[in-house]
């Protein structure tokens, strides 16, 4: 496969910094329609409750049952909707850039939230999902990704996934963060049909409350690397140790460096002191994916590694 459909160095810097990349409308409408049609089959079926809807969907063949640990190329059959989606050149390029050509399948799931029109089908009052980090405490430097595929257009009222940019490097224990109802800078997915969001495994998130009349579908798949995640993207423009690093604090406005700008962009919810720790943790991740143990931006790591003089 051509490498020119992979991520750019600037996109990788954005992913390292924010823990999320969004690709609006990347899946063609015909595939979205086919996927939704399969999920809603048999046509005319009326699910009285959410559990009945899941019971029906888990019995149909649109989303196969797959063992964790399976290599992604072995997960789906050619002609399957999900096979076709995950093999779109642009989608494949995103996956390869982050977790390689043959990542390890962890799990997948269809998230369904019923629209207000179907209120009688609910067994309890519709509420949003608490913020959480998926899985459990995960201290790895290597990272899994989670692809969030929205086959239909998502409006604000539909309660698309809420997420906290820049939260992915915080090591917390799943729903222990449920008390954090709102965080400055939180975002809510609003997107056209066929959009794909790529989350770092640690990104804090939760489902919004669906206040629309339409049922909302979200397909999520988690993939892990099967090799070091080093320079898997279109890295031809990567420079980790510039000859003349940009000045810090007393800065030079003429010095343009979009990669450094992304890596050093503070989120509005960062505490004053831990925001700097976030920069340091981003740079450690940047060293991992660039394969350069001396990579640095704005002297954050070099300073604290300097025991006796010039590095």
């Amino acid at each position: 496969m051509s490498r020119d459909v992979g991520l750019t160095t600037v996109q990788m810097a954005e992913f390292v910094a924010r823990g999320v990349l969004a690709f609006d409308g990347v899946v063609p409408e015909a595939l979205n329609a086919r996927f939704l049609e399969q999920l809603r089959a048999p046509v005319g079926d009326s699910d009285r409750t959410l559990s009945q809807a899941y019971s029906r969907i888990t019995r149909n063949s649109s989303i196969p049952k797959i063992s964790p640990g399976t290599s992604l190329p072995d997960c789906f059959q050619p002609g399957d909707c999900l096979h076709d989606i995950l093999n779109l050149a642009s989608v494949k390029g995103v996956i390869r850039s982050l977790v390689g050509d043959a990542p390890v399948f962890d799990h997948h799931f269809l998230h369904l939230t019923l629209g207000a029109e179907n209120e009688p089908r609910r067994t309890s009052r519709a509420v949003s999902q608490h913020n959480h980090q998926d899985s459990t405490i995960d201290p790895r430097q290597a990272f899994d990704i989670q692809l969030f595929y929205f086959p239909q257009a998502v409006t604000r009222a539909m309660g698309g996934t809420r997420y906290i940019p820049g939260s992915h490097l915080r090591r917390v224990s799943e729903a222990a963060i449920a008390r954090y109802q709102n965080i400055v800078g939180q975002e809510h997915v609003v997107c056209p049909a066929g959009s794909l969001y790529v989350f770092h495994m640690g990104l804090w998130h939760g489902a919004g409350r669906n206040q629309s009349t339409e049922d909302r579908y979200l397909y999520k798949i988690r993939l892990g690397p099967n090799a070091p995640q080093v320079r898997l993207w279109n890295d031809v423009d990567l420079v980790t140790q510039p000859d003349s690093p940009r000045p810090i604090f007393w800065t030079d406005p003429s010095h343009k460096d979009p990669v450094a700008d992304h890596l050093m962009a503070l989120e509005p919810w960062f505490e004053a002191d831990t925001g700097r720790l976030e920069l340091i943790n981003r740079l450690k991740l940047w060293r991992y994916i660039t394969g350069d143990p001396k990579a640095d931006v704005d002297y954050w790591l070099t300073r604290i590694e300097n025991e006796w003089g010039l590095p």
Binding site: V127, S128, Q129, H130, N131, R162, L169, R170, R171, V172, A176, I177, A178, R179, Y180, Q181, N182, I183, V184, Q186, H188, G206, G208, R209, P268, W269, F270, E271, A272, D273, T274, L277, E278, I280, N281, K284
Partner: protein, 94 residues
């Protein structure tokens, strides 16, 4: 007087009460409102002091904790958490 508690949790940018709110949560024992995750994008107050000035009573603040050796750069939970309360008479409903 029969009363019910309302709780406001503010997360601030530093340990100082007069610094910006970066996160918040509300719990309403009175039952007038049903706050839930993701329901507001704008903080209810700019700073913790603004909450005090609006009648909220501070009942707990997170302590400053030393950084464990080898874990100096670890980040996890929001660090500067402040609990406030208000008590509201249920007779005002009558």
């Amino acid at each position: 007087m029969a009363a019910r508690q309302k709780v406001l949790v503010l997360y601030l940018a530093t340990s100082a009460l007069d610094t910006p709110v970066i996160g918040w949560a509300k719990y309403d024992g009175f039952g007038d409102s049903q706050p839930m995750t993701g329901d507001e994008d704008i903080p209810p107050y700019k700073t913790g002091v603004d909450a005090l000035r609006d009648g909220w009573r501070l009942i707990q603040a997170s302590p400053l904790v030393s950084h464990a050796s080898g874990e100096e750069f670890r980040t996890d939970y929001l660090k500067y958490e402040f609990f406030f309360e208000q008590w509201q008479s249920i007779e005002t409903r009558l």
